[in-house]
């Protein structure tokens, strides 16, 4: 019998709740989460089936002050697992909880996390877009050497790719927001 397994699973940006449920279900089935790598390769090892709650946080400030951040969760009984694309992974056995426990206990802090996720994913491409791609389309298209024509095409292609990225993230966010409002 195999003691470890890997599964590929893709969760869009705003679907960390589905990811949490997935990890909890695996643990219930006797597969303990070890780590996630690449874009979504999940590594598990065999364990005693147990109801364990998995939670993801997204806190850039916490990553900057990692020791204190992890200590706070540790004090509250949450085991820190790893960071992945800005998310921090935690788990806690349901048997050690008083009722239902989550790493957030009010709407204000949950909304704050969503804001951070949105900022973390939108800001870097937005900066590249306005500071590099847009000016370059202008500059390259106003020069007449052949190399400028090629670069114009390259930056126009990047322009379209980035528009798609914005639309994609925007759509994911809108879907999530709608779900949240229900």
């Amino acid at each position: 019998m195999q003691d470890t397994k890997t599964e590929f699973k893709y969760f869009p940006v705003f679907e960390w709740e589905k990811e949490q449920d997935y990890l909890r279900q695996q643990h219930k089935n006797g597969w303990k989460f070890v780590r996630v790598s690449f874009i979504g390769v999940y590594h598990f090892e065999r364990c005693r089936p147990e109801d364990t709650v998995y939670q993801l946080d997204y806190n850039p400030d916490g990553l900057e002050h990692k020791e204190e951040y992890i200590q706070m969760f540790h004090d509250c009984g949450w085991e820190y697992l790893q960071d992945f694309w800005g998310y921090s992974y935690f788990r806690k056995p349901a048997s050690e909880m008083n009722g239902d426990e989550e790493i957030f206990c009010d709407e204000a802090s949950r909304t704050e996390m969503i804001k951070q996720v949105l900022k973390g994913h939108m800001l870097p491409p937005l900066i590249l877009f306005t500071l590099i791609i847009l000016p370059n389309i202008y500059i390259q298209s106003h020069n007449n050497r052949p190399v400028n024509d090629i670069l114009t095409i390259v930056f126009l292609a990047l322009f379209i790719i980035y528009l798609v990225i914005f639309l994609f993230i925007g759509y994911q966010f809108w879907k999530y927001w709608k779900l949240l409002r229900k």
């Binding site: 020791e67 200590q71 706070m72 004090d75 509250c76 008083n98 957030f104 802090s109 704050e112």
Partner: protein, 104 residues
């Protein structure tokens, strides 16, 4: 007190209120979690994500200040601005309570 602070913190969340209340004495986050649990007979349990986020936000807004670090735990205490906000909230809650007992 500027209008931004007033808008964000008056009224404030239960978590925020208890944090300010506890930070009239120097304390770290987990200590506040335990204190609040005692004060409310276990009914209010502040989660670590909420606690960490609230402390950094309040520090940024100048309601509390970092004092020192002890065993990887940041110790904070309330500032004058924090005391002002807490006093406003106490007044508001007192009024709320008075009006509530009148109709009961």
């Amino acid at each position: 007190m500027d209008s931004h602070i007033k808008k964000v913190y008056v009224p404030m969340t239960e978590t925020g209120f208890y944090i300010l209340l506890c930070l009239r004495e120097e304390s770290h986050g987990y200590n506040i979690v335990r204190k609040v649990e005692l004060l409310t007979q276990g009914e209010v349990r502040i989660s670590p994500g909420t606690m960490y986020g609230s402390l950094s936000k309040m520090e940024k807004d100048g309601l509390i200040q970092f004092v020192r670090e002890e065993d990887k735990r940041k110790i904070y205490c309330i500032t004058d601005l924090g005391k002002e906000v807490l006093a406003l909230e106490m007044k508001r809650i007192e009024r709320l309570y008075r009006n509530m007992t009148e109709v009961r």
